[in-house]
Structure formats: C-alpha cells, structure tokens
Symmetry: C2
Subunit: 347 residues, 2 copies
Amino acid sequence: MTQLQSVAWADGAVLVLDQRLLPQQEVVNRYTTVADVAESIRSMQVRGAPAIGCTAAYGMALVATHASAQQSHELLPALAAARTQLDASRPTAVNLFWATRRMYEYAVAQQHLPIAEFRVSMQREAQAIFDEDLAMCQAIGRHGEPLIPARGRVLTHCNAGGLATAGYGTALGPIYRAHETGRAVHVYVDETRPYLQGARLTAFELQRAGVPLTLITDNMAAYFMGQGLIDCIIVGADRIAANGDVANKIGTYGLAVLAHAHGIPMYVAAPTSTIDMRISDGRMIPIEERSSDEVTMIGGRRIAPEGVTAAHPAFDVTPARLINGIICERGVILPPYTTALADLMQK
Amino acid sequence: MTQLQSVAWADGAVLVLDQRLLPQQEVVNRYTTVADVAESIRSMQVRGAPAIGCTAAYGMALVATHASAQQSHELLPALAAARTQLDASRPTAVNLFWATRRMYEYAVAQQHLPIAEFRVSMQREAQAIFDEDLAMCQAIGRHGEPLIPARGRVLTHCNAGGLATAGYGTALGPIYRAHETGRAVHVYVDETRPYLQGARLTAFELQRAGVPLTLITDNMAAYFMGQGLIDCIIVGADRIAANGDVANKIGTYGLAVLAHAHGIPMYVAAPTSTIDMRISDGRMIPIEERSSDEVTMIGGRRIAPEGVTAAHPAFDVTPARLINGIICERGVILPPYTTALADLMQK
C-alpha cells in the first residue's frame, strides 16, 4: 500500500490504514475476515463514505475468496450475510450500501461461473469500485477547480480527501487540482471535533501534498468569514437526498448557515453514488448517534468531569437551499436540485 | 478558599485556583509578588474578565502591602509600575484596566493616610471590588432569570460562571437563579475549543451545583438550534463597546449569527464594568492572538501534524444587531444600545 492510501486489496487480504492513529503513526492492518473488515469500519479505522464503500466491496471479495464452496451459487448465502454485517457497521454512509449491493448483485449475475473464476471476478469487481472511485475523485477535481477564485481561500470541514476515498478526495479534489495546475490556493482547515479529522487527517494530507493551510478550531470559522478571509467552502457528503439536502459530518449545517449569512458560496463535492434518490429529503436520513465518550475523551484523556454526558450526533443535514452547487464526477449540479438530480440520475 | 472560588486574599497573599488543571485537579497557588499575579493572569490560571479584575485588584493590594516605604505617597511609583505590569497581562479584558485604575486612583486619593492605614485601606478596596463583583453577579442572575422560558434549554459558551467571576457568574447567573428558585432548566454547554472552558469549567461547576447539562462540541450548536432544542443563548462578555458590540470568547460571533438565523434570542450577561464607553464600536477592540500550540496541542498531546500552523484569535466581536439584550447588574439593556448604554452609564 502506498503511503496515505486508505484501503487496498493485496494477496487475498484487505489492508486498512488505521486513521485513528494518524498523524502520529502510520499503521496498516491486514484483515482476512469480513467480521474484521466490518469492525474496521465501525471503529472508524477507515472513514469517509467513498473509502468505506471501497472497504466494504473488498470485504465482499474476501468472502468470495475464502468461503468454502464447490459451486459459485453456494457462496450467495455467505455473501448475503456479509452484506448485512457490513451494512450494519455505519448507518449513515450510503456508499456502503451501494457498494455491498453492487457486489451482491454482481455475484448473483456471475453465479454461473466456475468457482475459481467467480472468486477472481469478485476481486476484480471490488477493484473496479476502487479504481472508479479514484477516477471519480479526479473528475470531481477537474469540475470543481474552476469554482475556486484566483488566490482562493477555501474552508473545508472534516476530511473529504484522499484518505476518505480511493485517493485524491472529493472536497479536496478541486483544491489538489488547483494546486497541481500551479494556482495559488490556501486552505482553512476546520479541526472538526470530536474526531479531529481536520486536524489529524486533512492537515496531514494537505501538508504532505505541499498545499498551504491554516488549521482553525470549528468555532473560528465564522470569525474568518466575517474578516473576509474565506472565498468559498467545499465539503464532502455522506448522503445526498433527491431534493439536494446533504448529510455530512456534524458542523456542516452550521457552516452552511454561516456561509449564507456572509454571502460565501458553499459547495458539496461527492460522487453520484452518494446521491440517494429513494430519500426524498434530508429529514428522512437517519443520523448516527455515537458514544458520549468520543466527546468527553481526547486521545484517551478525559477533558470533561466524570459523570458529565455529552451529545454526539455524528452528522447533520444541510438543506439544499444553503448549497450553491454539488460537484460530482459528471459536472457541477446547480439548483433547483430536485429536477437537476432527477435528470442527472436518469442519464 | 472555599471550593471553586477563583481568587481570594488571605494573610497578605493572593490565592489563585489554577483553572488550567480543572476538572482533574483543584490546585490553589499562593502569590506574594505582583509579577507572579500578572503571570497567573497571562498564563490563564485565572480567566474570565471579572475574575481577572479581582485578581489584578488583589495584585495592587499586594504591592501596597509589601513594598517598602515610610510614607504612603512613596508607594505610588511602585503601584503605577504594578498597574502597567498587570495591564499588560491580557490585552482584551477591560475589567482588568478598570480594576487597576480604580485601585491606583484610590491610592492617589488615600496617599495622605499613615502608611499602615494606607496598606489596610488598599486591601479593603481590593476586597470591595471582589464583594461588589459577587453582588453584581447575583443581581445579573435576578435580572436575567425571567428571560429563560419555562423548562428553558439554554446554550452557553466558554465559562462565564462562578469560576470567571468572584462567584455565581454572569452568563450562568440567570441559570443558577432559575435553578435555585426551583425552576426546571437544562444547559447545553459548548465545549469551547481550544481551551475547553465549557467542558472543563462550565460543565464542572454546573454539575457541582446540580444543574442538568448536556455537553456538546462547538460545531453541534447549529444542529441543536435546528432541532428546536435551544430556547435562548446566554454568554458573557470581555468588553462591550458604546454601540453594544460585544467582544467575547472566540465562537460567540458564530453562535450569534446562527441564533439570528434560527430566531433564537441571544443575550449577553456582564457587569457594567465591562462596558467601555471610550470604544465607539467593536472594530476598535483589539483581538488577542494567542499561540498556535494552544490549538495544535490538547493536554500536552499534539493533535495536528508537526509543522502545521493554527490560527488562534482568542476572541471575536459580535455586532450589536445580533444581540437581543445585555443583562447587567442594573437590569436588562435593550436595543438601541447606543442610547441605552449612554443613558445607563450616565446614571
């Protein structure tokens, strides 16, 4: 696995970079069971909707590779069970369900193949999901880059970068593209409590790529907007409803309200696999409530008094009216989203 | 010193509760030099504008008590030097300048007294500042309590509680008053990065007082506003300009914009000593830029990669138009603030 690659397939195993340990340590774990892969998603060793999708696809390939069977169709129950197990690992990320469904439907379609050929084809399908994700991110970068003004100061939240995807990133894609083409760009990185994905991951990968950045606490975003130092905001998405409402990391909604109040454009960058046309609006998106301890402890150290309970909604929903554009691999989708997304998804 | 008292005078020394160590440890430091007292303010052992004012007043009393002199007026140069030293310890908190000026002017007025009597009178004046602050906080509590609706859910930021004052608090005053009078009240406590005053101090003192609370990360505030779970916001202030603009802990401005967008009232609670009529509007309030390390390190542990620089404006300015009322010891000041504050301060 090359440095900073979030997940990879190698020699019948899934390699997962443990992002919980970044930036201090770069540890890659090797898994050969779907239970371990599901746990790596649940425990947030791997995070970011596209990277989770790739990981889950490799998890399905793992079952196809190692489960014992004489004929391909005998693997379908194990694959169905693996799908259920993987889908239960994180409730909000639609890419997860998309990837496991694609893998399962592929298995159903290929069950006529001889078992050895079936196993290899399932690995290839998982790899195709990974390769397509990387290509999608690069396309998002190309489409989004022109939205960044000259010498643009871009605010981003959480990590929707190479670590959250197969590589290159969604929200960071346009930034990397601008940087690669020699344009001056500066990134304000929200640290993104409670998991500090901005401080630990986004700052890490931008620094490694040589992109100038300033780390800020989440509550400084409004200050820098008010000072006229933010030209646009680009964030990722965990799920996009048919009306353009966006579920993303907790704090995204607040940024969108603040951006709107300051007249700053707010863009969402995500592959079309993030768009869930079955969900008519954001109110129907389930919000994962995670452990209070993830707020009251930082790096194993308790920051709040014993006995104090913290709330921990992991995501929020930003209404479509606060989003100036959705950057996907096919282009930039503009409001009104209900018709624009319906058109896009029918193509 | 009783538990949770931020600062006290005892036997010719200033006792300072080291709030940096809360909630894990309750350590009280004893200082006999003004240099140590100034350092305790600079290093944020004591914080909160009113508590800083009390501490600085005791620092002046320390010089009056211990500096060698035959006659009272001979102490004035040392007191002037102490005033300069204390004023330099934190640039934003107007109570600090107010307290040192009051002590110095009192010294000038009392320089005719015999030296022993002068020393005692300076101690009494510092104690009067402390006692008046406590009484002011209680009055703020009485005036502000009716602003909290029945079964009110109040969001607060940073710590403007007993630890930030001589006791009882400014922003927490109305909450304590409501709780003491048997009313149901629930507090959403912003953890308040980077110093985590909410998680460490506000959660600590509310928990000890038996007030129900939920700790949240700063970036969750908008989510809970959007869910209809916040009835009002009450924050403290470090300085209030003549037009009602308020300098307070970084993040306050963002909360005010979010509250406005959600139709939630935003109140500022502060004694009149926080009002600086020499400052016509908030743009003239200097914003203290603190160390990047205070963002990139939490509890001595680095959270961001080596070499990454963080911004750290310690305060922001909330424009008067976003503030629904200023709760002070004389009552609740309503807009338009320019005339209301001028009237108030002339009385």
